[in-house]
């Protein structure tokens, strides 16, 4: 037990440490969404054209749609095993706020998917003809945007907890909610590739993040409680 932490912070630390431990025991599962992201971005030049000048035009959209789909794929790991083995029930019974614990789970989920995607995104963008100067902007936009994607995904994943074969339904529920993130994220990436100031869309993404951090864990815990009943 680390010193100086309130019980709530200690609980969150333990939840995150457990999730990260489990994930690193099975690195294959963590890597899958990243491999998926790489493959999807590879498909676009094959489907459209190998000319970099044209690919540069569509690069922001390709990167963001691929990141969105990859983060959707990664949601499978967020709750599925914990719902199967009863961990979520233990969380609900633990006396700690379920909202808070789910927020911690979402945070570790972002560390395992959002952050690696943010690091991979500029590689994909470079391969699609983005200039070197855009790397930091692309990392920033995907990193900030994927926070909101993880939070929205947490809602979707908890809504579909009790549903068999939930993958397609999860996408149908989550993707419309993620449209603002896609718009502002792709816009920021586009501005970064054009070498312009990306502050405006980043602020909007940040605003969505703040709203999501405030409300999404509440909605997720409400949905988890309903499906545990």
């Amino acid at each position: 037990m680390s010193e100086g932490l309130t019980p709530a912070l200690e609980a969150a630390r333990l939840v995150m440490a457990r999730d990260l431990h489990l994930a690193f025991r099975r690195p294959g599962e963590v890597l899958q969404p990243l491999v998926f992201f790489a493959i999807v971005t590879t498909l676009f030049p094959l489907a459209i054209t190998p000319e970099l000048a044209q690919l540069r035009q569509v690069a922001p959209g390709v990167v963001w749609v691929a990141a969105l789909l990859a983060s959707l794929l990664a949601l499978e790991f967020l709750y599925r095993d914990d719902a199967h083995d009863g961990t979520l029930e233990q969380y609900a019974l633990s006396g700690q706020s379920l909202t808070w614990l789910l927020f911690a789970k979402t945070a570790s989920h972002w560390l395992l998917t959002g952050l690696p995607l943010a690091i991979m995104a500029p590689v994909a963008a470079l391969a699609l003809g983005a200039p070197k100067g855009s790397v930091s902007g692309i990392i920033a936009s995907v990193a900030i945007g994927s926070i909101a994607l993880s939070l929205l995904g947490a809602i979707g994943a908890s809504l579909t907890l009790g549903v068999r074969r939930s993958g397609v339904l999860l996408s149908i529920l989550t993707l419309p909610l993620a449209i603002p993130v896609l718009i502002f994220g792709a816009r920021a990436t586009q501005l970064a590739i054009a070498g312009e100031d990306i502050a405006a869309p980043l602020y909007l993404l940040g605003a969505i993040d703040v709203l999501g951090i405030t409300l999404a864990p509440l909605a997720a815990s409400a949905a988890v409680r309903i499906s545990l009943e």
Partner: protein, 250 residues
Amino acid sequence: MAWTWFHRLASPPYVYALAARLTPWFAWPAALLIVAGLYGGLVVAPPDYQQGEGYRILYVHVPSAWMSLMVYTTMAVAAGIGLIWRMKVAHAVAASCAALGATFTFCALVTGSLWGAPMWGTYWEWDPRLTFELVLLFQFLGYMGLRAAIEDVQRADRVSAVLAVVGIVNVPIIHYSVEWWNSLHQTASVMKLSKPSMPPEMLIPLLMTGLGFTLLFGALLLVRLRAEVLSRERAASWIREAVAGEAVRA
């Protein structure tokens, strides 16, 4: 007691009977207003100086678009009430809204695209309002899909209620982000329907069909609500009495 009316609304037999009594009060004015509004709009109103006769689809399109958002709001409010006060009837209202809302949204999309074909020269333009309607349609379909995927009615009620509430929080965000997205990307080549000064002979029929569609939604919602209550309470004894009473009257 000021709140008895609210508590009585939680009782399925009361709501079932109330819905039956209220339905004609919505259905008849709706029929009159829609017929009169369509007559006014399709026959009486003059052709538009720019768009000719083609603009007349707006007497169906605009009310449908209004209703799509209104039904979503109704659904989310009902779902929120059901979630907070654990009111089964409110969940039944939300469940009855979904298919109606999807239908209105679909109508708005189809009529918008039919209008766009002669006016814009294309069936689909990535106009912010059309895009927003499309996203709204996906939200309705997602809600219906989630309901359909959960067998236990009470759980389906509460899970889908969380989705409806999350969705309504997101609606303004989607609305403004789509506007913003469009204003950045779109060139000014598209002719927009400008209606700053609509003459009264065009506007009044529109307001009539708008109100008519609202009442139509009310009437259809009441009918669907009765069906929903019937299917949920099919094991209850009051159903048998209520249905027997109706058979005697009929």
